[in-house]
Amino acid sequence: MTFSIFLEQIINGIVIGSMYALIGSGIALIYGTMRVLNLAHGEFYMLGGYFVFFLIVTYGVPAYLAIPVAVLLTFLLGAIIQRLTIFYLLSREGWAFSTIAVTLGLSIFLQNAALLLFGEQFQSVPYYLEGVIEFAGIRLPVQRLLIFVVALITIGAMTFVLKKTRLGWAIRATSQDLDASAVVGIPAQRIYMITFGLAAALGAVAAAMLAPIYAINPWSGLPILLKGFVVVILGGLGSFPGAIAGGLILGVVEAIGVQLTSSEWRDVIAFTLMILVVWIRPWGLFGQKP
């Protein structure tokens, strides 16, 4: 393995890692605010991918328009699903497990609904940008560069929303102290609904950007969900910055690991890394020790 190939792999790892970060930050956002582990998060990714596919391939909508529409649709879908299911469970006894169970049910339901509605064939979307950048012997397709740029913009925008807007303050307030936030008049239930939608939308952004590289199919949610889990465990469950760092680390570790072994072992490398981290630092690399 030459040095330039090695470097190329690391860059690829960072690019894919930025997508893992988007997936993980969605899971972290939901867990951070309402303490719900969302097993259906992968299905928002999968559905986001289908929305993009239908808009671009079936209806011929240009990508720069199709992607925001698909993200918005996924946001609405996420918010509606939260209102219909999680909303009723949060106040119940034993909600921690029942929310996991319901999102598991949702995951299977959405996956198989997609299978029946959209069929089992694998779909793909044409590249948004063609061309390759060459720099110091390293080749980087522009499409991959675009993925990374979009990830940076999305994470930046999300950080801005969380830190600087009233919505973001409300989200952080409800996650820190539900009762106190209710006292100052924050409608926690509506905040939860919006947060769930935002998390789903983050998944849809990742799906839209990966659509030209990874095939869209009814089962594409599960592998990405598992990656998202590894990311949040690495970064510390519920930590938004942790998820971003975790995503990048996972991307790079996978890329190097695959170079050293073979691509069949990619997921084994990811899960082994996760179990090792749990063993050594259960609260995650960037989380606070409880």
Binding site: T85, A96, S107, F109, L226, E264, I275
Partner: protein
């Protein structure tokens, strides 16, 4: 569940066992027996998962790893070393137990439910990918076939007992015995002092610890027993079905099926997992035409049951009785 069994409960349990034991005498319908055998395999699995999740409160989502380990270890040893399945299923169960303890150790350090769920799910994925990638040993996704059935024997007075795909009766009785033993193991464990401290640990971990419950030991014990039982179920499954693929034996779908069964039957009850296993296995067979919709229906069942019947069907009976009892004095 910790009160002594009342006479009517003994009667109910005995009646269930007698009915189950008499079924092959009434009908030898291969298909019916096959469905019942499958539901008993899943019954053991569901019972064991419920022990960890419902009773001990360790919400694991990776028990299908132990099923797969049990199935593959037993099949591979009996194929390659020529040992009888009567022996290999126990070796496989021990292998599953060791794997269970191996997963149990990191879980001990975490009290957070999501971590437990994620780590166990990740572990099961590792097992599935390893089985699928080691094609020279397991034949990967092509499937491991040629798994020997249980060796026959003769019973004085009854004659030769032969395990073959054509005759389901010996398999039926074997799995019925395994199910009865598993139920007895879980019931006795839960009715013992250990069982009490397990439930105490589930309901109030810190309080239990401060009262001197050894959490580490309890969790490992429960995890080990549970993995052992699931390993036995998996090993039996391998020798019964005769062909194993990573997707069928270690797929997430299998875990989802078991979770649906336990939730439908009643999480944290003894009879719930068995009721759920019987109902869902039979329902799927009755609704064969639903093949494509099968998982869709499972998903919907999990959602509906969690939302509207959080304690499952097993709680329905006592709930109605309680309602009637509390209502009647008010009315009078």
């Amino acid at each position: 569940m910790f009160q002594p069994l009342k006479p009517w409960q003994w009667a109910l349990v005995s009646a269930a066992v007698v009915v189950a034991a008499l079924i092959p005498a009434v009908t030898q319908n291969t298909y019916l027996l096959h469905v019942l055998i499958l539901s008993m395999i899943f019954g053991i699995f569901a019972l064991a998962w419920n022990l960890v999740t419902g009773f001990a409160g360790l919400k694991t989502f990776g028990h299908h790893a132990f099923f797969g380990i049990g199935a593959y270890v037993s099949a591979l040893i009996s194929i390659n070393a020529g040992l009888s399945p009567w022996l290999t299923i126990w070796i496989a169960a021990i292998a599953a137990t060791i794997a269970g303890i191996f997963v149990g150790v990191p879980i001990l350090r975490i009290k957070s439910m999501p971590h437990v769920a994620i780590v166990t799910l990740g572990f099961a994925e590792i097992v599935r990918i390893v089985i699928s990638n080691l094609q020279s040993i397991t034949r990967g996704e092509l499937g491991l076939w040629g798994i020997p059935p249980f060796t026959g024997f003769s019973i004085p007075g009854i004659g030769q007992v032969v395990f073959s795909p054509a005759d389901k009766v010996p398999y039926y009785y074997l799995i019925l015995i395994l199910l009865a033993l598993s139920t007895a193991v879980v019931a006795l464990l839960m009715r013992s002092k250990t069982g009490l401290s397990i439930v105490a640990m589930r309901d109030a971990e810190d309080a239990a610890e401060s009262l001197g419950v050894n959490l580490t030991w309890q969790k490992l014990l429960v995890f080990g027993v549970s993995a052992f039982l699931v390993g036995v179920a998996g090993a039996f499954y391998g020798h019964y079905i005769g062909i194993l693929t990573p997707t069928a034996a270690v797929g997430v779908d299998l875990m989802i099926l078991i979770i649906a069964m336990v939730l439908v039957g009643g999480l944290g009850t003894l009879s719930g997992p068995l009721i759920g296993a019987l109902i869902l296995t039979a329902a799927v067979e009755l609704l064969r035409d639903l093949e494509d919709y099968r998982l869709l229906v499972y998903g919907a069942i999990i959602i509906v049951v969690t939302m509207f019947l959080p304690r499952g069907l097993a709680s329905l009976g006592p709930m109605i009785v309680k309602r009637l009892r509390t209502r009647s004095p008010e009315n009078s």
